[in-house]
Symmetry: D2
Subunit: 309 residues, 4 copies
């Protein structure tokens, strides 16, 4: 067992196994309930939409970061093609794409990570197969996420342009961002945790963006669970701090978030435009909506999340 | 020129070129404005979400219907893979996908169809290239679609289980469905035009689902334009009636909708669950939200559209 | 164990495990040795080349025959693209492809089939993984196959246009084809077993070509092993007879050929042009050369096999 | 016109347009005729095969070198999958691949490069389309290449470990390599031009391998044509020297070789093992065989070329 006794104890103490029934595959998505939706609807002010997705193309941050994770390659099946051969008839442009499911802005399926033989909620890891992908806790099980979103703007709260690469975010940091946002987080809220790392991607520094990165850490796991957040998203490639705090517990946040908490989480969210708008009017809450693409058995779901302010 | 003089006249009379500026690439998405959003938010009652997306997998209706349009093939890059080699450490499931951009539920990019050398709004069709795809009117230009949706349930209005294959929907049919819905359509509304054809897909009859199909027709083009709909979606593979009303004007609805009206439209929407709920409580309006995947230059955008009732 | 006691006994009696060392991954390819090469070189008469490959494109026989086996989809990355932007400068056409490895004419990797926990030569089936594919007995291990080929023209020997779908070839049939060929088969020879089924593919009847099919059977396994053939190729999709002789021993020829004999074998070879030439001059032997594409860990190797007569 | 008057004159003087008929699509492959085959067969001594292909996997040199050229990504469709569900029954390993056609060792289709509106032999460049790829001079037209190969070992001839990056090979260099090889080049011979650049790839320095590179140049074009070589292959990524001798005539060797001469050529050939064997026994000729994969309309053909010594 790679987790230390302390981390095992932490994992056990934050576990949500069985909380929504023995067959549940949605985890904290269950928390984004009707009350959360109402909070989200109530947070709409100007009605302005801000997408948090990065473009899906060859400039994707997925460029060798992990084996086989390729950037979206979209090619044309036809270009102004008139199938009838009649001049002036309808001419079609059609295309196809190949991409790692996690190539762009995406939400992790809860079965994306396993350890000790299990996925979230005790589903056996043997439910991951070559033919069917994730037969439990797959991307198509996530469902609609629509509720109140809150931007936790860490750089703004800490008075820096962006967090340092390799910085392990603390619970106190998150508290500071909540205070800046002037909201009270309640169960089912969607936390958009900005580190500012996305600036590197915007600047074309893809390798800098990917590694090293600030991120969530062992210091924040209990905080996340205590707040019963519906979902937690970040503007980084790894989600959690990299290099890891302890190589012997590499990817520990993924392990405990996904498998034990059943925490809906995602990566490569672009919070830069949103942060600018929040800073301008001082309002950090909004209607959050994200409708993950329903790939059957998928390990991640591409998504275009939108803040409606 | 394949369009008859009458159809050319129709195309000219419904044109929106220049309406939102010479550089516009969003067409009727512009109509889904703040007022539309407010109407949508106001239509939320129970807060229940109903997805209109079909699963993305090998059972997709895209199976040879058009050259190169392949069903989504999702394969595993890793299965419970412990990169450290340490037992009990985080084990990852990762995957990749290849698919026609229009393989599932999708929204057409406005540049999907051209004729006479032009895309919507006079953008030259030379803006479609192998290297970059659609440099104008591509999928990433569609943006967030969030407003009031209305289910136009044609089978319910016409008293049939589903429309006949090859049936050309008329303006009167649409009026009957509006009457059934007991709503007044206003500019910027999103029309979800149900034919019932999706039942064939649910029954596993993919070939029957694909061809022949009922659909929008030359009888409905002016109706669509006169109502200034923000978007029009259908539960069929072809969108418009197939076989065509006139082979000499094949795909005429695509031609005039996309190029002349700049009409946001899409296909393979599954309205069956939504229709059942609308029929049960008699409420046919809802908050419609769809956040198309931002594939740079894409000819279609995969999307998971959601009705919040 | 799915194999009956009789088949298990057969499997054990034809096994080549250990014959070329405990670490061998090439099986009967070892038999295509220098003597075989000399026989092949000696069989060259006119010097005319006849390819046995089918085209790699969307008309491939791989169209849903097995889960995820997609026909080659080749798309353009650029079309007459001048990267400098200077008129008259070099303009490039570039492309990409996605395909099932077994989509066209291919040779099975010896690790393509396992049973009872093992690949050929006792390599554990755990050597097949998502990340690395076949870490033993993969496509890149097959190596160059160059020796004497002999066309075993079953329809010609049996006086029919082509064998019936579902016909299980017998040892006597193969003997008749050897007699027709007027050659003495010796160890290391490459047998090109023609059934004529490829005619259906040429006629555009892809479904007919795929199923049902004549093919090798339990009647021929010992014959193949007794002749110590270097490789055995067929002009069918399944290789062995389909439907199976006994559903309880489905794919039994694959099982025993690949795992027990280590028999190099392959499918979708087009013997029609070759058969016409052999019939014309009565010469059924030739230089056989096939250089499988070295996909690391591949389960099949695409190949363009050539007869030089 | 990007080519200078001198280069235009050179191009015209080496042109093979019409030489093998107005409809020819094979160019110098026509020179690899029966006499060439006999020379090749006569060059077999030990009968030992040496492959010149690099592995097809994610370590491919194609990693962003040109837009969309992705390294081969091979993924598993099934892993030890028993379709019957019966324990002990045949279990299958199956896979799929996506790759740039030029990702590994490949032969350029003659239509890979165009200029001035034409492909080789006057075929119009409009024959390159999104739907069909190269309708003229595509990969499937190359056909079997089997004749005498000669290793032109430039580093050995020039007394260096490998040529310098950016070194433009001269005719005198090639003459020196011919002298070292102690062969008389005759029309239809296949020249394997070793620069030693492949050593960088073997050392894992993919970026160094790709750029900058030694290669054929304007100094060698007439030499190649005067020798009427059947094919010319190199052990580099770019084929010709990079950076170009003159940016205003970028890719000039591709332009004149492919379009004007119709020169069969290819890249990423690994001559290191072959060179070691040739150096050991002083024999630089061999039977060359390469059977390009017949991708319909392909811009390049993956190939596993083999020297039989």
């Amino acid at each position: 067992m790679a987790l230390s006794p302390e981390l095992q104890e932490l994992a056990a103490s934050v576990s949500n196994w069985g909380r929504w029934g023995d067959r549940d595959e949605r985890g904290t998505a269950n928390l984004i309930d009707d009350a959360a939706l109402r909070r989200g609807l109530g947070a709409v002010r100007s009605g302005r939409h801000v997408s948090m997705a990065i473009p899906l193309d060859q400039k994707s941050p997925q460029q060798g970061g992990a084996p086989g994770r390729i950037a979206p390659l979209r090619t044309m099946l036809s270009i102004n093609q008139t199938y009838t051969g009649l001049d002036g008839d309808a001419a079609f442009n059609d295309d196809t794409v190949v991409m790692a499911m996690s190539a762009g802005t995406h939400i992790d399926a809860l079965g994306h990570v396993t350890y000790g033989g299990f996925m979230y909620n005790g589903h056996p890891d043997s439910k991951a197969t070559a033919v069917d992908g994730l037969k439990r806790c797959g991307a198509e099980k996530i469902g609609t996420l629509m509720g109140r979103g809150v931007l936790l703007d860490l750089p703004a709260a800490l008075g820096v342009a962006r967090l340092e690469p390799g910085y392990a975010v603390t619970a106190a940091d998150l508290d500071a961002a909540v205070e800046l946002a002037k909201v009270e987080l309640v169960p089912g809220d969607v936390a958009c945790v900005r580190t500012g790392q996305m600036q590197l991607f915007h600047e074309g520094d893809t390798q800098g963006y990917n590694h090293d990165t600030p991120g969530l850490s062992t210091h924040t796991i209990r905080w996340v669970r205590d707040h019963d957040l519906g979902a937690v998203f970040t503007d980084t490639y790894v989600y959690e701090v990299w290099p890891p705090q302890d190589w012997a517990a590499m990817m520990v946040v993924h392990m405990i978030h996904l498998r034990d908490i059943g925490q809906i989480q995602g990566q490569n969210f672009d919070f830069e435009p949103l942060a600018a708008e929040c800073a301008a009017d001082g309002v950090y809450e909004f209607l959050f909506s994200a409708h993950p693409e329903p790939f059957t058995g998928g390990c991640s779901a591409p998504v275009n999340p939108v803040a409606t302010r």
